[in-house]
């Protein structure tokens, strides 16, 4: 594949502007070659009628961005994606973080039984959940999540233990068992016990 195509991949995937120097480093090509491929790419984009995105250049830096014609559409879309009504899975996630926080993403996913990456991200952006940093000496310890003060205030309480029925619900026996079991096998659990057995001896 060409330098142009490589550069396009990196520009596409990056959420930040990239310099020619950085692009050359990442692809292992000469700055001159990168510069030329970049020119070609720009010419191609310019020639394309009705493109949904475009290339922004600022000094030495380059970035892909949506076309200015769609600024309003994109803004409304992103606002709605970020701040639209919370879905039931999102409310469930928020609730679990409320009753069981601080907890890790892995623990949260054990409880919900599905991947929670996107939902958690959205709750963070909305200021409903935050990561608890700097509380532990071990830098490799996974991040833990808890609800924010703003959210507690919104509910009209000062601490999570003022949530209804907090003591009973937060120390539910099944929930504890599940998390203990998951912690015991840090590795992904296997389905039905796998039997490893030996074949009868050949006669």
């Amino acid at each position: 594949m060409s330098v142009k195509s490589e550069i396009e991949s990196l520009l596409f995937v990056s959420s930040r502007p990239l310099s020619v120097k950085r692009l050359a480093e990442a692809t292992g090509h000469d700055k001159k070659d990168v510069q030329q491929a970049l020119e070609e790419l720009l010419a191609e984009y310019d020639a394309r009628p009705e493109s949904g995105f475009t290339v922004l250049r600022n000094g030495d830096e380059v970035q892909l961005a949506t076309s200015p014609e769609h600024a309003e559409l994109v803004k409304t879309f992103l606002k709605d994606e970020t701040f639209g009504e919370l879905t039931r899975p999102a409310l469930e996630t928020l609730t679990i973080v409320g009753y069981r926080g601080p907890l890790t993403k892995a623990e949260l996913e054990q409880i919900r039984g599905v991947n929670c990456s996107l939902i958690l991200r959205n709750l963070l952006i909305r200021g409903l959940v935050e990561t608890e940093g700097g509380k532990t000496d071990d830098p490799s310890a996974p991040a833990t999540y808890r609800v924010t003060f703003d959210f507690l205030r919104y509910l009209g309480i000062r601490q999570t233990n003022e949530l209804p029925d907090f003591a009973a619900l937060s120390s539910d026996e099944n929930l504890q068992k599940l998390l203990d079991a998951a912690a015991a096998k840090a590795a992904p659990t296997e389905a039905a016990p796998e039997a490893s057995i030996e074949a009868p001896q050949a006669e």
Binding site: F12, L128, E162, L169, E194
Partner: protein, 230 residues
């Protein structure tokens, strides 16, 4: 003396396929009949597994024995052609997916992963709480979530509920016979609680006959089977 190890297996179809592949056979009724004994031998070495799972293995064992009997006694009239043709068909289909999984693994090995756009680092963009959300609603949601956990947590427990191994049964039958010299099959099943236990008893009996520890006699079809110590 050499041993061929059967790789880890999961479920009756997996075991059957591995046995057939070890013998380098195609999936046919003849092959199924050929590996029937090996299949049952492997069953006896199964570590403790759940009654439900064992039942799955045993139903397949019963089908294999049926197919084998049919091969041994081709002149008898056998009904239910569909039934055991079904095992052959299912095994062939299963094999296709096992093969496909190998191809998928090879694709994964090429590491041609694709990536979506990098997400910018997260920072709260403001405070956007859900509409009309209260502590009471949270408690209600949390109770629902806890309810959903029950089957997830209970499964491993249910597994241990009650397991009957063929070994156990063999010992049981041998004990009974050494005490009474002659026992009816009906008597053996007196305490059987589940269908799988009945099948286990029958398999254990067959095993004892094969090992020439007992002889069996039966007056007519469907009449009582009597066991005697050899």
């Amino acid at each position: 003396m050499y041993e061929i190890k059967i790789e880890k297996f999961e479920g009756p179809l997996d075991l059957l396929l591995k046995l057939i592949e070890r013998e380098e056979l195609d999936i046919t009724e003849v092959s199924l009949a050929k590996v029937a004994d090996q299949y049952i031998e492997q069953l006896q070495k199964l570590p403790e597994i759940s009654a439900e799972e064992l039942a799955d293995f045993l139903v397949t064992a019963a089908k294999l024995l049926y197919i084998k009997s049919k091969m041994l006694l081709p002149l008898l009239h056998w009904g239910e052609e569909e039934e055991e043709g079904d095992l052959e068909r299912r095994l062939r289909m299963y094999k296709e997916y096992v093969e496909a999984a190998k191809k998928v693994l090879a694709m994964l090995g090429k590491k041609r992963h694709t990536y979506v756009r990098e997400k910018p680092p997260v920072s709260a963009l403001g405070f956007a709480p859900p509409k009309d959300f209260t502590g009471e609603k949270m408690a209600e949601l949390f109770r629902d979530i806890l309810k959903r956990l029950i089957p997830v947590v209970k499964t491993p427990e249910g597994v241990i509920e009650r397991t009957v191994s063929i070994h156990e049964k063999i010992r049981h039958i041998q004990e009974l016979i050494s005490k009474h010299a002659k026992v009816s099959f009906h008597h053996l099943l007196k305490n059987a609680e589940t269908r799988s236990e009945i099948i286990v008893s029958f398999l254990a009996l067959l095993e004892l006959v094969k090992q020439r520890h007992v002889t069996v006699s039966q007056e007519n079809s469907f009449s009582e089977i009597h066991l005697e110590k050899v």
